[in-house]
């Protein structure tokens, strides 16, 4: 049984024991994390206190939590939309980078300097770039049956290397570093909480969350869900499976693209090679842990953002490496996975699991 199977089987069935698994997993991850820290000779209490102080201890720190949440939430939603259609899009990172590229190209052009329109053009461009890039594996899948897991994983490298090439040549700003020129001021997301770096992208992420919730209640959303739940049944009742896959991947890539566009427009204002520290990969875990439900994805995205922000503080003040935050994330996933297997085992034991 694959990871994806286990987690998608237990999706959506909130109630009794299943509901507590994510919380119990989070707690257990911290317990095991404590053992790891203690065995490295670290004062566990101090380390965790630092982690939470980093995330919640100051307005600026909490602002950074919200800032990371924007990226993680949008990327997580992107992956979760694809997963609902059983399209295992592991390429959110690449789509995010292409979105960042789209936003940058518009932002440094005349279009980006139009007052009031610049920001909208940047967001639209990043969505379109992300969507188009996600349509490549989608078309390969629909036309030739190419497995999207492999194609999306590999296209991540294509995107990253393509952008590296551009930054070292065609769109390189004058100077030593491989950076793009700064985008026009009219293309930059305004900060909405003074004293922090939190920008208006938070509102976009919130709208996207609500949008995905309602997407599943629409005609096309129903078609996508049906293809994901049972492709044979969908084909049999006359649904257009190919169209559903293309639409799904376009939405997915578009959301990831916006996440990338916002990193340029809201945070860096230039395009650089490492603009995302792997948000698109963490998004896969977030989508799985959030059970592909927009609210679940939002909660997990926030939680992961706390971990990432807090561990940066741990690194700065205690020297605990950033890898520890990744360890915690992975532990949560492992425990949720075990919990999922536990539920399947319970169902089987009670004789009502598998028909």
């Amino acid at each position: 049984m694959s990871v994806l199977t286990v987690l998608s089987q237990t999706r959506q069935k909130v109630g009794d024991i299943k509901f507590f698994i994510p919380f119990a997993s989070g707690a257990l991850a911290f317990v095991v994390g404590a053992i790891i820290l203690a065995s490295a000779g670290v004062d566990v209490g101090n380390a965790y206190a630092t982690l939470f102080r980093g995330a919640f201890g100051s307005v600026f720190g909490f602002g950074d939590v919200l800032l990371k949440t924007i990226s993680l939430l949008l990327a997580g939603l992107a992956v979760s939309v694809a997963f609902r259609c059983r399209q295992w899009n592991i390429g959110a990172e690449g789509q995010l980078y292409m979105g960042a590229l789209g936003g940058t190209i518009v932002g440094i052009s005349v279009l980006g300097a139009i007052p009031g329109l610049g920001i909208l053009a940047v967001i639209a461009a990043s969505a379109i770039f992300g969507a188009l890039f996600a349509l490549v594996p989608a078309l390969l899948k629909v036309k030739f049956g190419v497995n999207e897991v492999i194609s999306t994983v590999l296209l991540n490298f294509v995107a990253l290397l393509f952008i590296a090439f551009l930054l070292h040549g065609p769109i390189k700003a004058p100077g030593f570093n491989p950076y793009s020129p700064e985008i026009a001021e009219e293309s930059q997301m305004p900060v909405i909480i003074p004293g922090t770096r939190v920008h208006a992208g938070l509102i976009i992420a919130a709208i996207a969350t609500v949008g995905v919730y309602y997407l599943w209640k629409t005609k096309i959303g129903f078609e996508i869900r049906s293809v994901g739940a049972n492709i044979k049944a969908a084909r049999y009742v006359g649904m257009n499976v190919g169209k559903s896959v293309l639409v799904t991947m376009a939405i997915s890539g578009g959301l990831a693209g916006i996440a990338g566009g916002l990193l340029v427009s809201g945070v860096q204002h230039i395009l650089i090679e490492g603009i995302s520290p792997g948000y698109g990969f963490v998004a896969v875990i977030i989508a799985l842990l959030g059970r592909q439900h927009p609210l679940g994805v939002a909660i997990v995205a926030f939680f992961f953002s706390v971990l990432m922000t807090g561990s940066e503080t741990m690194y700065r003040s205690l020297g605990i490496p950033g890898a520890f935050s990744m360890t915690l994330q992975a532990l949560v996933l492992v425990f949720v996975l075990v919990g999922g297997l536990f539920v399947i085992w319970l169902n089987k034991r009670n004789g009502r699991g598998v028909r």
């Binding site: 209640k217 005609k219 129903f222 078609e223 049906s226 049972n230 049944a233 049999y236 009742v237 006359g238």
Partner: protein, 516 residues
Amino acid sequence: MDYSTVPSGAPILQMNGITIRFGDVVANNKVNFELRKGEVHALLGENGAGKTTLMSVLYGLYQPQEGETIIKGQKTSIKSPNDAMDLGIAMVHQHFLLTLPHSVTENIVVGLKSNGFFLDLSSAERKIKQLSEMYGLKIDPKAIVGDLAVGEQQRVEIIKALYRDADILILDEPTSMLTPQEEKSLFSTLQSMVSQGLSIIFITHKLREVMEASNRVTVLRGGKVVGTVSTSETNETELAKMMVGRTVVESIQSKATSRNPDVLQLKNVSALNNANIMFLKDLSLELRKGEIFGIAGVDGNGQAELAEVVAGLRKVQGGEIIMDNQLITNLPPRKIRQWGLAYVPQDRLETGLILEYSISENLILDRWYTDEYSGKIFLKQGEMREFAKKVVTDFEVKTPGIDLPVNSMSGGNLQKVLMARELARNPKVLVVHNPTRGLDIGAAEYIHKQIVKQRDNGVGVLMISLDLDEILTVCDRIAVIYEGKILAVMDRKDADVEQIGLMMGGKVVVSKEGTS
């Protein structure tokens, strides 16, 4: 065959007060069962009556919470199938456990403890030959299992059991895949096995088989034993009453339809199967308005392919399909449905329904895009619920709630939801494939009534079924399919079981009706 007496003597197997609970469900409730040496004992009951559970206890797959099992006078506890085999108990499952690319002998000796480092196939072959002569189980030990017919594969399974010195043989629905001829030969094998001292438990839900091939019968209903009777002292009506708790004699009037116009025509249709082999070969048939046209045949002779080409789910390679004067060859499924097709596929769980969806979502699965259930953007939840409520009342669907996933519902109720959705289309043509497979008698009867109602309203019904009894009960005209071809078409009143059976096995009979 002589099943008129019951062998006397001590029982070889006794199961006393067996109780098995799965959660709140009692699958076996204080079940008593007894098997004597040299008898064929039928275990009769509807689906879910507890037959398989009881036999799984005997085969070591489940441990009972209460009760004891006594074999050859010894109280035993059977913890695994290995224990069962050591005690001389063998089970022939409904779906065979054979590896197709290997020979008969290899399949039989696989897993034996007595095998050394090198297999001694030639002495195994000798023993197999001996067994096959002793019990009249004709088989070539060197043949590749994949090349054998279903009936022959079953013989391999039986020899496998005998090879392991089993003297108690459990046969789980052994006739479900056989032609009438193969069935006959199986029954004569059973006869010769019991006459040489073996004892056989025969799980079935078919009354005719019980009457034909058993000494005694134990009837289960709802996990309890209704009674054990000698076959010679009972009849089909009485057994049916015991099995379902009331008298069921299904009789459906057939209708003469020769003057009705055709509503569906297949002209020389050919199509590939999933392995890209031409599986339908120049198949032609005409379905008239207001009739039920049955397709009989052994599984795997093109039935699924036939249903799928009509529904647009499989590409037609040659020929044409005309529905209600419109050419529908290779149109997309949605177009064909809009022109008047309703289709109930055989695998209601894998294809017909989405199990994690609610009843209302399943009901609009084929019409989610229509103005009735969808606005410009959003689905109309209110209308969907109304539709679901109406179906639940009209079709007497038993459900814990219309908003819950349907995967908690029973097979019969799932089939009702599926039928309801398809019939709500007001179709011109209704294709049903194994519509009552796995359903209990009550649910099957209900489904048949719905199909007949459609016929009486002028719908042309194409019924593809592996259950010959069903076809003979329900259909107005009957065709036999063999290797992707229709061998003959006949009215029900002219239908002769013997003849249909021969044709299902590929023997073309020149009859006065002629072939089509």
